[in-house]
Point group: C2
Chain length 700, copies 2
Amino acid sequence: MGDTVLTDLFAPSRVAVVGATENEGSIGRAIVTNLRDEFDGETVPVNPNYDEVFGLDCYPDLASAPDIDLAVVVVPPHIAVDVVRGAGEAGIKNVVVITAGFGETGSEGAERERELQDIAAEYDLNLVGPNSLGIMSTPVGMNATFGPENALPGSMSFMSQSGAFITAVLDWANDEGLGFKDVVSLGNKAVLDETDFVRAWGEDPDTDVILGYLEGVEDGGTFIDTAREVTDDTPIVMVKSGRTDAGAQAVSSHTGTLAGSDRAYEAGLEQAGVLRVDSVQELFDFAQILAGQPLPERDDVAIVTNAGGPGVMTTDAVGDSTLSLASFSDDTLAELGEALPEEANIYNPIDAIGDADIGRFRDAIDIALGDENVGTAVVLAAPTAVIDYRDLADVIVELQAKHGKPVAAALMGGERTEEAAELLREGGIPNYFDPARAVRSLDALTTYRDISQREYGKPTEFDVDRERAAEILSRAKERGDNRLGVEAMGLLDAYGIPTPEGTIADSPEDAVSAAQDIEGNVVMKIVSPDILHKSDIGGVKVGVGNEDVYDAYEDLVTRARNYQPDATILGVQVQEMVDLDSGTETIIGMNRDPQFGPLLLFGLGGIFVEIIEDTTFRVAPISEREASEMVNDIEAAPLLRGARGRDPADIDGVVESLQRLSQLVTDFPAILELDVNPLVATPDGVRAIDIRLTVDTDEL
Amino acid sequence: MGDTVLTDLFAPSRVAVVGATENEGSIGRAIVTNLRDEFDGETVPVNPNYDEVFGLDCYPDLASAPDIDLAVVVVPPHIAVDVVRGAGEAGIKNVVVITAGFGETGSEGAERERELQDIAAEYDLNLVGPNSLGIMSTPVGMNATFGPENALPGSMSFMSQSGAFITAVLDWANDEGLGFKDVVSLGNKAVLDETDFVRAWGEDPDTDVILGYLEGVEDGGTFIDTAREVTDDTPIVMVKSGRTDAGAQAVSSHTGTLAGSDRAYEAGLEQAGVLRVDSVQELFDFAQILAGQPLPERDDVAIVTNAGGPGVMTTDAVGDSTLSLASFSDDTLAELGEALPEEANIYNPIDAIGDADIGRFRDAIDIALGDENVGTAVVLAAPTAVIDYRDLADVIVELQAKHGKPVAAALMGGERTEEAAELLREGGIPNYFDPARAVRSLDALTTYRDISQREYGKPTEFDVDRERAAEILSRAKERGDNRLGVEAMGLLDAYGIPTPEGTIADSPEDAVSAAQDIEGNVVMKIVSPDILHKSDIGGVKVGVGNEDVYDAYEDLVTRARNYQPDATILGVQVQEMVDLDSGTETIIGMNRDPQFGPLLLFGLGGIFVEIIEDTTFRVAPISEREASEMVNDIEAAPLLRGARGRDPADIDGVVESLQRLSQLVTDFPAILELDVNPLVATPDGVRAIDIRLTVDTDEL
């Protein structure tokens, strides 16, 4: 990303189109035409073959074109790189490369894309693309794309990794009357990526909601940090496609990039405060209410309707959401009883029944929104002879403004809803045909309220023995091991994650002496990088008394030799017995995601992880609050809290272990994967019983 | 339900409107007007106050009106009952009662509703309502409702328990061009209910799909039997609202009926073969494809698009569904390679890229549908300058017909899609703005194919000792117990569910002698209807050797007396030890649902049921296949099949136990609730360790 102010990209006075032409069906023609139609500034064609394009003076190159703020490049790929360099040389800071034939097409294209990146770095360019549909900004009437539609003005800013997605969305949004501030087709994201636009739009007072269609995030960590800050004030709603295995493969073949795991995206986007959606409809359902309505102070929804059946469906939708159905105060019930006929239902959902006219609707909505127990409302109507939806829309807008609480409308029907929907939209209130969509949108508004208020705090910096950890890892490198087991338990000890007392003995005598230092019987495990599944070969002995330690040592080594004669044997671990029955087995672990880096795992041991898949993930580093969220996220969390008559386990110990693991894997990027399995949590504390990790020895 | 042929209701020649009037704003006026507008037959006003209504001869009563096939009643409630009796006396078999003020309004109304039911039974009437919006049937142009819109002709038949839902849906459906065969507002379902219409429309050659909005099912068992038969040929799609606790409460206050548990509905509707949906949109998304497209022979989907991004989203939707992405044959790939430009993606999803014209789309769709690995296709497009959606619609319709495989379209955009969507609709192909909806609809089509083909078979009739079971229950009645425990283990034994060897001893000597008959140590449990949680008072002793049995007996009785001095003590159960460690604890149980009757439960014991809620339900009686489905439904099923190095448990034994339990609770409606917990499943068989049940002693 260039340091140049990115907002300049969207507010140029003079835009050059390099490759401008009048040729029918060409992209150069489409862009000049789109710009000429509505742009407040000047459109400057650049093309050595013409003196004029559509009556505008045409320049042979950027160097000769005066005072250009933004250059849009549509020349063939082999020329495009030189044109961009020319822009840099001419002091132009903003460049949109429409041209395709770069990273998406193979090694030659990838090389060209690297050249573009170098030039952008050298001249500090804001460069969009290549392989972009272009950009739009409605305040200056700029449509620098080759798409068939321009955007209507509005306060949503929208980025998309798919140009086709933009054309499809605009065609529909224009029909629905939905407007945008800026629109960007990200293309190959050679220079500017999603994080840059999140940052820029976060600072843009004219952008109320940031929307995105992404197939990948370039740098997960920076994205999280940036988005987390932006979402304090500006909501972000995104489709991240390639969620499923099949979808991820389709992304790879579409963009040529390696897709990170969806659980990393799921965790990372959640930590970033992004509202993730799966469909276009939900993207704009959420966007509209976020752009138009205030944040609710309470989660309690009032439903006002003239139709019992749809009222029940709406109530179901509330039951499915994180919202709750408001309980009305006695005063409210008394007022409703006064205002509504006897057959009406004054309890939530309020059913003003089929013959409700505008006056009755007005009373019911006004009373409901006036109740201090009510945070938000859904106004729901079926068509009847006695209600004109336009009147109802006016009343909803008026009462929403009066009470200052968010409202969603579900005036059901076909054409008869259109004018009413427009009146509502002008008042910032979305109308949804399906009341469940209204409820889900209010739910998203409430979730965003929580996001905007949440304070994760910084990750705790524990006092750890980093040098000792480094030494353990470097010893592995010396041995040429990239897969480590119990011999690396010291890593956990160095980072303050409790481990059982014990050492690795390299002779039977040594083992006996080690066992004597430990109270009670011991556990003995063979230590060999070549033997991953110790239990399978009888490489673990539990409850060994002091008198049996010598023989046990020899037996373990013999078993290992029998199993694999040339196995490297580092010795036998002699470890304090931990009473597994009194505790709950958990797993804490990490693997490194290509986009997001260290992805932490938490779950309960055994069947819970392997069969039920009851696990949760976060991108490290994590704060105490995030670690605590992890422990509470899993379905089996009640087991740790002491379900079924057990004593509660030391949850604080688990939370702290997760944070310490986070610090360890953040400090050592060479650790590619790490599992502590089990980490036993008893009422008195936690103990890491076993560890397995993979390291990148080149990084050590 | 009357025995009269129900289809007559929808094809009358002469319809009387009792309460016909020209009064502005009245329901009587609305119905006469709606009928007069389009009805092929004759509309006959009945009202003693007029000679003419809208120029039609008006009769004073039904007795004097000649040859009426259907009477629509809109007179006030206190007169309506007499009018219906009059219809019966006049030999009119079909009656729609629009009038409200019956069961939904309190005891007086409920009494009136019972009168209606008696009259309907006496005269064998097909009676719709009361409290109904009316009925429609498009083949004869009949709109006998007071709603503002008539339906367009089509092949979907639609019933709704909410009249407002019908008006909202019709307003929208007319706009979308969606047509109906019959429409029924069920009202209070005093006589005709959902089962009657499912049966009638199942036999109606003009109904291709049955749709419903229900808030409850009257008789779950009959509904299941009927729907199961109908869905062999005709798909049923339904919204059942009141899914959530809040929603169920809203249903109660809306309809005045007790809502059954949603898990009974979930199980019952699934067993019935009903496709259950949660939103209006999905109701019609599924309905359209079910009405218009053939059933797929394979689950493999081909995606053809001109837009990579939306292609990825569609692929994600396939990943979320039960469908799979088709792998193309080598021939197909070769043909696609020939037909498409180099930059295109010939692997599924086929991306014909942005400059795809109609010829290229045609080639890609034709080749994809021609692949024998392909079962269905989604054709997906973003708007471009080179493709006219109308041309694309024509090509899709033509190629769908050529290949005979189901196709869904997702031509994305706003107004520009409208004409194309209409062309597609005429060809029976739905168009969805959101490609995920297209995929979900194809998924529903595939699910329906499986439903139409499935064969549950009859429930097995096991050879059981019904008399012994009856005797055990009647003994409980004699004692006045309605809650039974281990003393009722004999019930299981009588029905062939394996129990450990053992008896109930009523003296220490008796216990000693019982223990001597059992090999090895025994388990002893206090048997008392007053002590539900035996373990909590130390009422269970495990691993008692023969020499300790005498003392153990006395100790157990003392503990019980200390806990509750006046407890009824039936003795001490002396039972064979079952090695719980070698098996998996499961729970099989039943509770009786108000609508569906005996609802069977299956899950794994302990935390799986209590914390993870990993359970599954079916309405009894169940066939072997359904019992087997239950065992495989739960997430933890791999544990039974031998996950994590265990020996597989005797799954056949569990399946058989479920069927035997099904037979037991079907044979004895007096059993209100029953839990066998645990039923231990070992590799060698199953054993029921404990039982608890509640009985209705009045039913015994």
